[in-house]
Subunit: 243 residues, 2 copies
Protein backbone atom coordinates (compact mmCIF):
# COMPACT_ATOMS: atom_id res chain seq x y z
CA UNK A 1 0.00 0.00 0.00
CA UNK A 2 1.31 3.36 -1.00
CA UNK A 3 1.63 6.76 0.63
CA UNK A 4 0.27 8.18 -2.61
CA UNK A 5 -3.30 7.99 -1.24
CA UNK A 6 -2.64 9.58 2.16
CA UNK A 7 -5.08 12.20 3.35
CA UNK A 8 -4.19 14.98 5.75
CA UNK A 9 -2.77 13.41 8.91
CA UNK A 10 -0.77 10.74 7.12
CA UNK A 11 -3.21 7.83 6.86
CA UNK A 12 -4.51 6.59 3.51
CA UNK A 13 -8.01 7.53 2.40
CA UNK A 14 -10.74 5.18 3.64
CA UNK A 15 -12.21 4.61 0.19
CA UNK A 16 -8.76 3.64 -1.08
CA UNK A 17 -8.36 1.05 1.68
CA UNK A 18 -11.86 -0.24 1.00
CA UNK A 19 -10.96 -0.68 -2.66
CA UNK A 20 -7.91 -2.79 -1.75
CA UNK A 21 -10.10 -5.10 0.35
CA UNK A 22 -12.78 -5.17 -2.34
CA UNK A 23 -10.28 -6.12 -5.06
CA UNK A 24 -9.23 -9.12 -2.97
CA UNK A 25 -12.88 -10.27 -2.75
CA UNK A 26 -13.34 -9.59 -6.45
CA UNK A 27 -10.38 -11.82 -7.33
CA UNK A 28 -11.63 -14.57 -5.02
CA UNK A 29 -15.19 -14.46 -6.41
CA UNK A 30 -14.52 -14.15 -10.13
CA UNK A 31 -17.62 -11.97 -10.50
CA UNK A 32 -17.40 -8.87 -12.72
CA UNK A 33 -18.99 -6.21 -10.49
CA UNK A 34 -19.44 -5.30 -6.86
CA UNK A 35 -23.13 -4.58 -6.31
CA UNK A 36 -23.13 -3.39 -2.70
CA UNK A 37 -20.16 -2.99 -0.38
CA UNK A 38 -20.01 -1.92 3.27
CA UNK A 39 -16.82 -1.06 5.13
CA UNK A 40 -16.54 -0.63 8.90
CA UNK A 41 -13.46 1.44 9.74
CA UNK A 42 -12.08 0.06 12.98
CA UNK A 43 -8.93 2.13 13.38
CA UNK A 44 -6.63 4.31 11.26
CA UNK A 45 -4.26 2.40 8.97
CA UNK A 46 -0.87 4.02 8.27
CA UNK A 47 0.62 3.39 4.83
CA UNK A 48 2.70 0.23 4.51
CA UNK A 49 2.23 -3.49 4.02
CA UNK A 50 -1.29 -4.75 4.60
CA UNK A 51 -2.89 -8.20 4.58
CA UNK A 52 -6.39 -8.98 3.36
CA UNK A 53 -8.16 -12.15 4.53
CA UNK A 54 -11.25 -13.02 2.51
CA UNK A 55 -14.09 -15.37 3.33
CA UNK A 56 -16.74 -16.46 0.85
CA UNK A 57 -20.10 -16.87 2.53
CA UNK A 58 -22.51 -17.57 -0.27
CA UNK A 59 -22.62 -18.17 -4.02
CA UNK A 60 -25.96 -17.71 -5.75
CA UNK A 61 -27.34 -15.28 -8.29
CA UNK A 62 -25.21 -12.91 -6.25
CA UNK A 63 -22.06 -13.81 -4.32
CA UNK A 64 -21.42 -12.50 -0.81
CA UNK A 65 -18.39 -12.49 1.43
CA UNK A 66 -16.24 -10.61 3.89
CA UNK A 67 -12.72 -9.21 3.78
CA UNK A 68 -10.56 -8.10 6.70
CA UNK A 69 -7.77 -5.67 5.98
CA UNK A 70 -5.00 -5.81 8.60
CA UNK A 71 -1.76 -4.01 9.19
CA UNK A 72 0.68 -5.13 11.87
CA UNK A 73 -1.77 -7.87 12.95
CA UNK A 74 -4.56 -5.42 13.73
CA UNK A 75 -7.76 -5.47 11.70
CA UNK A 76 -8.31 -1.97 10.32
CA UNK A 77 -11.27 -2.48 7.99
CA UNK A 78 -14.04 -5.05 8.06
CA UNK A 79 -15.69 -5.23 4.66
CA UNK A 80 -18.81 -7.07 3.54
CA UNK A 81 -19.77 -7.14 -0.12
CA UNK A 82 -22.20 -8.70 -2.56
CA UNK A 83 -20.97 -9.07 -6.13
CA UNK A 84 -22.74 -9.88 -9.37
CA UNK A 85 -22.94 -8.91 -13.01
CA UNK A 86 -24.38 -5.47 -13.67
CA UNK A 87 -24.49 -6.18 -17.42
CA UNK A 88 -26.93 -9.05 -16.84
CA UNK A 89 -29.56 -7.08 -14.93
CA UNK A 90 -33.03 -6.66 -16.37
CA UNK A 91 -36.36 -5.36 -15.14
CA UNK A 92 -38.43 -2.20 -14.92
CA UNK A 93 -37.00 1.31 -14.64
CA UNK A 94 -38.47 4.47 -13.09
CA UNK A 95 -36.05 7.30 -12.35
CA UNK A 96 -36.88 10.64 -10.74
CA UNK A 97 -33.43 11.87 -9.73
CA UNK A 98 -31.31 14.01 -12.05
CA UNK A 99 -27.57 14.59 -12.33
CA UNK A 100 -26.25 17.64 -10.48
CA UNK A 101 -26.00 20.79 -12.58
CA UNK A 102 -22.42 22.02 -12.60
CA UNK A 103 -20.57 24.61 -14.67
CA UNK A 104 -18.18 22.95 -17.19
CA UNK A 105 -14.93 21.58 -15.64
CA UNK A 106 -12.91 24.55 -16.91
CA UNK A 107 -15.19 26.95 -15.04
CA UNK A 108 -14.95 24.97 -11.78
CA UNK A 109 -12.34 25.25 -9.04
CA UNK A 110 -9.22 23.08 -9.35
CA UNK A 111 -6.43 22.72 -6.83
CA UNK A 112 -3.98 25.66 -7.14
CA UNK A 113 -0.70 24.43 -8.64
CA UNK A 114 1.38 25.78 -5.77
CA UNK A 115 -0.90 24.46 -3.01
CA UNK A 116 0.50 22.13 -0.36
CA UNK A 117 -2.00 19.30 -0.48
CA UNK A 118 -2.10 15.77 0.90
CA UNK A 119 -0.96 13.10 -1.59
CA UNK A 120 -4.45 11.83 -2.36
CA UNK A 121 -5.44 15.16 -3.88
CA UNK A 122 -2.79 14.65 -6.58
CA UNK A 123 -4.26 11.27 -7.57
CA UNK A 124 -7.47 12.92 -8.77
CA UNK A 125 -8.28 15.65 -11.23
CA UNK A 126 -11.08 17.31 -9.24
CA UNK A 127 -12.99 20.46 -10.22
CA UNK A 128 -15.23 21.77 -7.47
CA UNK A 129 -18.48 23.55 -8.18
CA UNK A 130 -17.73 27.22 -7.31
CA UNK A 131 -21.08 27.31 -5.46
CA UNK A 132 -19.65 24.74 -2.98
CA UNK A 133 -16.09 26.07 -2.70
CA UNK A 134 -16.56 28.69 0.01
CA UNK A 135 -15.06 26.48 2.75
CA UNK A 136 -11.71 26.49 0.89
CA UNK A 137 -11.29 30.25 1.37
CA UNK A 138 -12.63 30.38 4.92
CA UNK A 139 -16.17 31.24 3.88
CA UNK A 140 -18.38 28.16 4.44
CA UNK A 141 -21.49 28.41 2.27
CA UNK A 142 -23.86 27.48 5.09
CA UNK A 143 -25.17 24.47 3.16
CA UNK A 144 -23.56 21.05 3.84
CA UNK A 145 -23.14 20.17 0.18
CA UNK A 146 -20.22 19.47 -2.19
CA UNK A 147 -20.37 18.89 -5.95
CA UNK A 148 -17.49 18.28 -8.34
CA UNK A 149 -16.22 16.80 -11.57
CA UNK A 150 -13.72 14.04 -10.75
CA UNK A 151 -11.47 11.70 -12.73
CA UNK A 152 -8.19 9.87 -12.13
CA UNK A 153 -5.21 12.18 -12.67
CA UNK A 154 -3.37 9.50 -14.65
CA UNK A 155 -6.07 9.25 -17.32
CA UNK A 156 -7.38 5.83 -16.27
CA UNK A 157 -11.14 5.52 -16.75
CA UNK A 158 -13.43 4.65 -13.82
CA UNK A 159 -14.87 1.14 -13.37
CA UNK A 160 -17.27 -0.36 -10.83
CA UNK A 161 -14.39 -1.48 -8.57
CA UNK A 162 -13.10 2.09 -8.27
CA UNK A 163 -16.47 3.67 -7.45
CA UNK A 164 -16.06 3.26 -3.64
CA UNK A 165 -12.83 5.25 -3.97
CA UNK A 166 -14.61 8.04 -5.82
CA UNK A 167 -17.48 7.94 -3.31
CA UNK A 168 -15.06 9.01 -0.57
CA UNK A 169 -13.00 11.44 -2.68
CA UNK A 170 -14.67 14.83 -2.10
CA UNK A 171 -13.92 17.08 0.88
CA UNK A 172 -16.52 16.43 3.61
CA UNK A 173 -19.73 18.36 2.92
CA UNK A 174 -19.83 19.43 6.56
CA UNK A 175 -16.89 21.79 5.88
CA UNK A 176 -19.46 24.15 4.42
CA UNK A 177 -21.34 24.53 7.74
CA UNK A 178 -18.58 24.32 10.39
CA UNK A 179 -15.35 26.31 10.32
CA UNK A 180 -13.49 24.39 13.04
CA UNK A 181 -13.47 20.83 11.71
CA UNK A 182 -10.24 18.94 12.40
CA UNK A 183 -11.18 15.42 11.26
CA UNK A 184 -14.22 13.53 10.00
CA UNK A 185 -13.46 9.85 10.72
CA UNK A 186 -15.76 7.44 8.89
CA UNK A 187 -17.40 4.75 11.02
CA UNK A 188 -19.09 2.94 8.13
CA UNK A 189 -19.40 3.51 4.39
CA UNK A 190 -21.83 1.68 2.10
CA UNK A 191 -21.74 2.02 -1.67
CA UNK A 192 -24.30 0.64 -4.14
CA UNK A 193 -22.95 0.20 -7.65
CA UNK A 194 -25.85 0.90 -10.00
CA UNK A 195 -24.14 0.76 -13.39
CA UNK A 196 -20.80 0.52 -15.18
CA UNK A 197 -19.47 4.04 -15.70
CA UNK A 198 -18.82 5.34 -19.22
CA UNK A 199 -15.28 6.65 -19.84
CA UNK A 200 -14.54 10.23 -18.90
CA UNK A 201 -15.49 12.62 -16.11
CA UNK A 202 -17.67 11.58 -13.18
CA UNK A 203 -19.94 14.08 -11.48
CA UNK A 204 -20.27 13.60 -7.73
CA UNK A 205 -22.64 15.39 -5.39
CA UNK A 206 -22.57 14.82 -1.61
CA UNK A 207 -24.67 16.27 1.18
CA UNK A 208 -25.27 16.01 4.92
CA UNK A 209 -28.72 16.72 6.33
CA UNK A 210 -28.37 15.48 9.89
CA UNK A 211 -25.34 16.43 11.95
CA UNK A 212 -26.51 15.57 15.46
CA UNK A 213 -24.26 15.60 18.55
CA UNK A 214 -21.16 15.02 16.43
CA UNK A 215 -22.54 12.17 14.29
CA UNK A 216 -23.45 12.75 10.65
CA UNK A 217 -24.49 10.89 7.54
CA UNK A 218 -23.07 11.90 4.17
CA UNK A 219 -25.00 10.76 1.10
CA UNK A 220 -23.37 10.88 -2.32
CA UNK A 221 -24.46 10.24 -5.88
CA UNK A 222 -22.00 9.45 -8.67
CA UNK A 223 -23.03 10.15 -12.27
CA UNK A 224 -21.07 9.18 -15.37
CA UNK A 225 -20.20 11.21 -18.47
CA UNK A 226 -23.37 10.02 -20.22
CA UNK A 227 -25.60 11.34 -17.44
CA UNK A 228 -26.40 7.98 -15.85
CA UNK A 229 -26.34 7.28 -12.12
CA UNK A 230 -23.57 4.74 -11.45
CA UNK A 231 -23.39 4.71 -7.64
CA UNK A 232 -25.15 5.80 -4.45
CA UNK A 233 -23.20 5.97 -1.23
CA UNK A 234 -23.91 6.77 2.40
CA UNK A 235 -21.50 6.98 5.27
CA UNK A 236 -21.84 7.41 9.02
CA UNK A 237 -19.05 9.57 10.40
CA UNK A 238 -17.97 11.53 13.45
CA UNK A 239 -17.00 15.19 13.41
CA UNK A 240 -13.98 16.25 15.45
CA UNK A 241 -13.55 19.99 15.90
CA UNK A 242 -10.73 22.16 17.16
CA UNK A 243 -13.22 24.32 19.08
CA UNK B 1 -38.45 -17.85 15.39
CA UNK B 2 -42.13 -17.38 14.91
CA UNK B 3 -44.55 -17.34 11.99
CA UNK B 4 -45.99 -14.21 13.55
CA UNK B 5 -43.65 -12.03 11.45
CA UNK B 6 -44.22 -13.70 8.09
CA UNK B 7 -44.75 -11.46 5.09
CA UNK B 8 -46.72 -12.48 2.02
CA UNK B 9 -45.21 -15.69 0.61
CA UNK B 10 -44.62 -17.27 4.01
CA UNK B 11 -41.12 -16.13 4.96
CA UNK B 12 -40.46 -13.83 7.92
CA UNK B 13 -39.79 -10.15 7.32
CA UNK B 14 -36.14 -9.30 6.64
CA UNK B 15 -35.99 -6.60 9.29
CA UNK B 16 -37.32 -9.08 11.86
CA UNK B 17 -34.58 -11.59 11.00
CA UNK B 18 -31.99 -8.84 11.12
CA UNK B 19 -33.20 -7.89 14.59
CA UNK B 20 -32.73 -11.49 15.82
CA UNK B 21 -29.13 -11.49 14.57
CA UNK B 22 -28.54 -8.01 15.99
CA UNK B 23 -29.84 -9.00 19.44
CA UNK B 24 -27.30 -11.84 19.53
CA UNK B 25 -24.49 -9.36 18.81
CA UNK B 26 -25.92 -6.95 21.35
CA UNK B 27 -25.85 -9.62 24.07
CA UNK B 28 -22.30 -10.62 23.16
CA UNK B 29 -21.02 -7.02 23.17
CA UNK B 30 -22.73 -5.63 26.25
CA UNK B 31 -23.07 -2.23 24.54
CA UNK B 32 -26.35 -0.34 24.88
CA UNK B 33 -27.02 0.71 21.29
CA UNK B 34 -26.43 -0.44 17.74
CA UNK B 35 -25.00 2.52 15.82
CA UNK B 36 -24.88 1.11 12.29
CA UNK B 37 -26.00 -2.30 11.09
CA UNK B 38 -25.84 -3.88 7.63
CA UNK B 39 -27.57 -7.10 6.65
CA UNK B 40 -26.93 -9.03 3.45
CA UNK B 41 -29.90 -11.28 2.68
CA UNK B 42 -28.50 -14.43 1.13
CA UNK B 43 -31.63 -16.51 0.73
CA UNK B 44 -35.19 -16.67 2.07
CA UNK B 45 -35.53 -18.06 5.60
CA UNK B 46 -38.74 -19.94 6.40
CA UNK B 47 -40.02 -19.65 9.97
CA UNK B 48 -38.62 -22.18 12.41
CA UNK B 49 -35.53 -22.77 14.51
CA UNK B 50 -32.56 -20.60 13.59
CA UNK B 51 -28.97 -20.39 14.82
CA UNK B 52 -26.95 -17.21 15.13
CA UNK B 53 -23.14 -17.37 15.21
CA UNK B 54 -21.49 -14.15 16.35
CA UNK B 55 -17.91 -13.01 15.98
CA UNK B 56 -16.45 -9.98 17.74
CA UNK B 57 -13.91 -8.23 15.56
CA UNK B 58 -12.98 -5.10 17.45
CA UNK B 59 -13.56 -3.36 20.78
CA UNK B 60 -12.77 0.34 20.95
CA UNK B 61 -14.81 3.49 21.44
CA UNK B 62 -17.18 1.51 19.25
CA UNK B 63 -17.47 -2.28 19.06
CA UNK B 64 -17.79 -4.10 15.74
CA UNK B 65 -18.65 -7.67 14.83
CA UNK B 66 -20.52 -10.01 12.53
CA UNK B 67 -23.46 -12.36 13.00
CA UNK B 68 -24.55 -15.18 10.71
CA UNK B 69 -28.14 -16.31 10.96
CA UNK B 70 -28.61 -19.88 9.73
CA UNK B 71 -31.52 -22.24 9.33
CA UNK B 72 -31.04 -25.88 8.43
CA UNK B 73 -27.27 -25.31 8.15
CA UNK B 74 -27.60 -22.66 5.47
CA UNK B 75 -26.58 -19.08 6.18
CA UNK B 76 -29.56 -16.84 5.43
CA UNK B 77 -28.36 -13.45 6.68
CA UNK B 78 -24.86 -12.06 7.06
CA UNK B 79 -24.92 -9.11 9.43
CA UNK B 80 -22.19 -6.61 10.30
CA UNK B 81 -22.75 -4.07 13.05
CA UNK B 82 -21.01 -1.41 15.07
CA UNK B 83 -22.40 -0.76 18.54
CA UNK B 84 -21.83 2.01 21.04
CA UNK B 85 -23.62 4.27 23.48
CA UNK B 86 -25.88 6.88 21.90
CA UNK B 87 -26.37 8.57 25.27
CA UNK B 88 -22.65 9.36 25.46
CA UNK B 89 -22.35 11.16 22.15
CA UNK B 90 -21.39 14.81 22.06
CA UNK B 91 -20.42 17.32 19.42
CA UNK B 92 -21.84 19.90 17.05
CA UNK B 93 -25.32 19.73 15.53
CA UNK B 94 -26.67 21.16 12.27
CA UNK B 95 -29.96 19.76 11.00
CA UNK B 96 -31.76 20.71 7.80
CA UNK B 97 -34.18 17.79 7.40
CA UNK B 98 -37.68 17.91 8.89
CA UNK B 99 -40.12 15.20 9.96
CA UNK B 100 -42.70 14.20 7.36
CA UNK B 101 -45.99 16.04 7.59
CA UNK B 102 -48.81 13.53 8.09
CA UNK B 103 -52.44 13.87 9.08
CA UNK B 104 -53.07 12.65 12.66
CA UNK B 105 -53.12 8.83 13.05
CA UNK B 106 -56.92 8.76 13.24
CA UNK B 107 -57.14 10.45 9.84
CA UNK B 108 -54.70 8.03 8.23
CA UNK B 109 -55.41 4.65 6.65
CA UNK B 110 -55.32 1.58 8.91
CA UNK B 111 -55.69 -2.03 7.86
CA UNK B 112 -59.37 -2.93 7.42
CA UNK B 113 -60.48 -5.25 10.25
CA UNK B 114 -61.76 -7.91 7.86
CA UNK B 115 -58.74 -7.83 5.55
CA UNK B 116 -56.74 -10.99 4.94
CA UNK B 117 -53.23 -9.81 5.69
CA UNK B 118 -49.90 -11.53 6.23
CA UNK B 119 -49.05 -12.10 9.91
CA UNK B 120 -46.49 -9.31 10.14
CA UNK B 121 -49.16 -6.70 9.45
CA UNK B 122 -50.88 -7.68 12.71
CA UNK B 123 -47.70 -7.08 14.74
CA UNK B 124 -47.77 -3.36 13.94
CA UNK B 125 -50.31 -0.63 14.36
CA UNK B 126 -49.67 1.18 11.09
CA UNK B 127 -51.55 4.22 9.76
CA UNK B 128 -50.64 5.09 6.20
CA UNK B 129 -50.67 8.66 4.93
CA UNK B 130 -53.76 8.80 2.65
CA UNK B 131 -51.59 10.62 0.07
CA UNK B 132 -49.49 7.43 -0.26
CA UNK B 133 -52.27 4.83 -0.07
CA UNK B 134 -53.34 4.73 -3.72
CA UNK B 135 -51.49 1.46 -4.41
CA UNK B 136 -53.74 -0.34 -1.89
CA UNK B 137 -56.85 0.28 -3.99
CA UNK B 138 -55.22 -0.35 -7.37
CA UNK B 139 -54.44 3.32 -8.00
CA UNK B 140 -50.66 3.85 -7.62
CA UNK B 141 -49.95 7.51 -6.91
CA UNK B 142 -47.15 7.74 -9.48
CA UNK B 143 -44.64 8.80 -6.82
CA UNK B 144 -42.48 6.06 -5.21
CA UNK B 145 -43.07 7.24 -1.65
CA UNK B 146 -44.68 5.82 1.51
CA UNK B 147 -45.28 7.60 4.81
CA UNK B 148 -46.95 6.26 7.93
CA UNK B 149 -47.37 6.34 11.69
CA UNK B 150 -46.14 3.04 13.12
CA UNK B 151 -45.98 1.44 16.57
CA UNK B 152 -45.97 -2.09 17.96
CA UNK B 153 -49.49 -3.51 18.17
CA UNK B 154 -48.84 -4.88 21.68
CA UNK B 155 -48.09 -1.45 23.16
CA UNK B 156 -44.34 -2.00 23.58
CA UNK B 157 -42.34 1.18 23.00
CA UNK B 158 -39.61 1.31 20.35
CA UNK B 159 -35.91 1.13 21.25
CA UNK B 160 -32.73 1.35 19.20
CA UNK B 161 -32.60 -2.45 18.79
CA UNK B 162 -36.03 -2.52 17.17
CA UNK B 163 -35.38 0.32 14.71
CA UNK B 164 -34.11 -2.03 11.92
CA UNK B 165 -37.43 -3.85 12.18
CA UNK B 166 -39.37 -0.60 11.78
CA UNK B 167 -37.07 0.46 8.92
CA UNK B 168 -38.33 -2.51 6.90
CA UNK B 169 -41.97 -2.35 8.03
CA UNK B 170 -43.69 -0.20 5.40
CA UNK B 171 -45.01 -1.56 2.09
CA UNK B 172 -42.34 -1.00 -0.61
CA UNK B 173 -42.51 2.56 -1.96
CA UNK B 174 -42.23 1.18 -5.50
CA UNK B 175 -45.82 -0.11 -5.21
CA UNK B 176 -46.87 3.45 -5.96
CA UNK B 177 -45.24 3.45 -9.43
CA UNK B 178 -45.66 -0.14 -10.64
CA UNK B 179 -48.92 -2.09 -10.59
CA UNK B 180 -47.48 -5.55 -11.31
CA UNK B 181 -45.00 -6.05 -8.47
CA UNK B 182 -44.89 -9.61 -7.13
CA UNK B 183 -41.91 -9.41 -4.76
CA UNK B 184 -39.22 -6.93 -3.70
CA UNK B 185 -36.41 -9.07 -2.26
CA UNK B 186 -33.85 -7.09 -0.28
CA UNK B 187 -30.21 -7.67 -1.20
CA UNK B 188 -28.77 -5.46 1.55
CA UNK B 189 -30.20 -3.19 4.23
CA UNK B 190 -28.19 -0.67 6.26
CA UNK B 191 -29.65 1.22 9.21
CA UNK B 192 -27.99 4.07 11.13
CA UNK B 193 -29.36 4.55 14.62
CA UNK B 194 -29.19 8.29 15.30
CA UNK B 195 -30.96 8.52 18.67
CA UNK B 196 -32.98 6.63 21.27
CA UNK B 197 -36.65 6.94 20.36
CA UNK B 198 -39.10 8.55 22.78
CA UNK B 199 -42.12 6.40 23.72
CA UNK B 200 -45.11 6.48 21.40
CA UNK B 201 -45.71 6.64 17.68
CA UNK B 202 -42.91 6.64 15.13
CA UNK B 203 -43.28 8.44 11.82
CA UNK B 204 -41.59 6.70 8.90
CA UNK B 205 -41.14 8.04 5.37
CA UNK B 206 -39.58 5.95 2.62
CA UNK B 207 -38.85 6.73 -1.02
CA UNK B 208 -37.21 5.30 -4.12
CA UNK B 209 -35.63 7.64 -6.66
CA UNK B 210 -33.72 5.20 -8.86
CA UNK B 211 -35.41 2.03 -10.08
CA UNK B 212 -33.05 0.99 -12.90
CA UNK B 213 -33.28 -2.35 -14.75
CA UNK B 214 -35.01 -4.00 -11.79
CA UNK B 215 -32.65 -2.74 -9.06
CA UNK B 216 -33.76 -0.03 -6.64
CA UNK B 217 -32.67 1.76 -3.51
CA UNK B 218 -35.21 2.58 -0.82
CA UNK B 219 -34.24 5.30 1.65
CA UNK B 220 -36.19 5.68 4.89
CA UNK B 221 -36.21 8.12 7.77
CA UNK B 222 -37.63 7.25 11.19
CA UNK B 223 -38.77 10.07 13.46
CA UNK B 224 -39.92 9.70 17.07
CA UNK B 225 -42.92 11.19 18.85
CA UNK B 226 -40.89 14.23 19.91
CA UNK B 227 -40.00 15.09 16.32
CA UNK B 228 -36.39 13.88 16.43
CA UNK B 229 -34.74 11.77 13.74
CA UNK B 230 -33.88 8.38 15.29
CA UNK B 231 -32.79 6.35 12.25
CA UNK B 232 -31.83 6.56 8.58
CA UNK B 233 -31.97 3.43 6.46
CA UNK B 234 -31.17 2.49 2.90
CA UNK B 235 -31.69 -0.81 1.16
CA UNK B 236 -30.74 -2.24 -2.21
CA UNK B 237 -33.48 -4.50 -3.55
CA UNK B 238 -34.69 -6.23 -6.68
CA UNK B 239 -38.16 -5.83 -8.13
CA UNK B 240 -39.92 -8.93 -9.43
CA UNK B 241 -43.02 -8.31 -11.51
CA UNK B 242 -45.82 -10.53 -12.76
CA UNK B 243 -45.77 -8.74 -16.12
Amino acid sequence: MSHRWDVIGGAPNGGYLMTIALRALHQAFQRPDPVTVTGHFLEPCPAGEVEVATQLVRFGSHATGTARLSREDRIRILLTATLGDLAAKGGPSHVTGEPPQLPPPDECVGVPEDAEVPPIVERFDMRLDPACAGWAVGEPTGEARMAAWVRFADGRDPDTLSLPLFADSLPPAVLNVLDDVSWVPTIELTVHMRGRPAPGWLRIVAATRFLVDGYLEEDAEIWDSEGRLVALSRQLALVRTTG
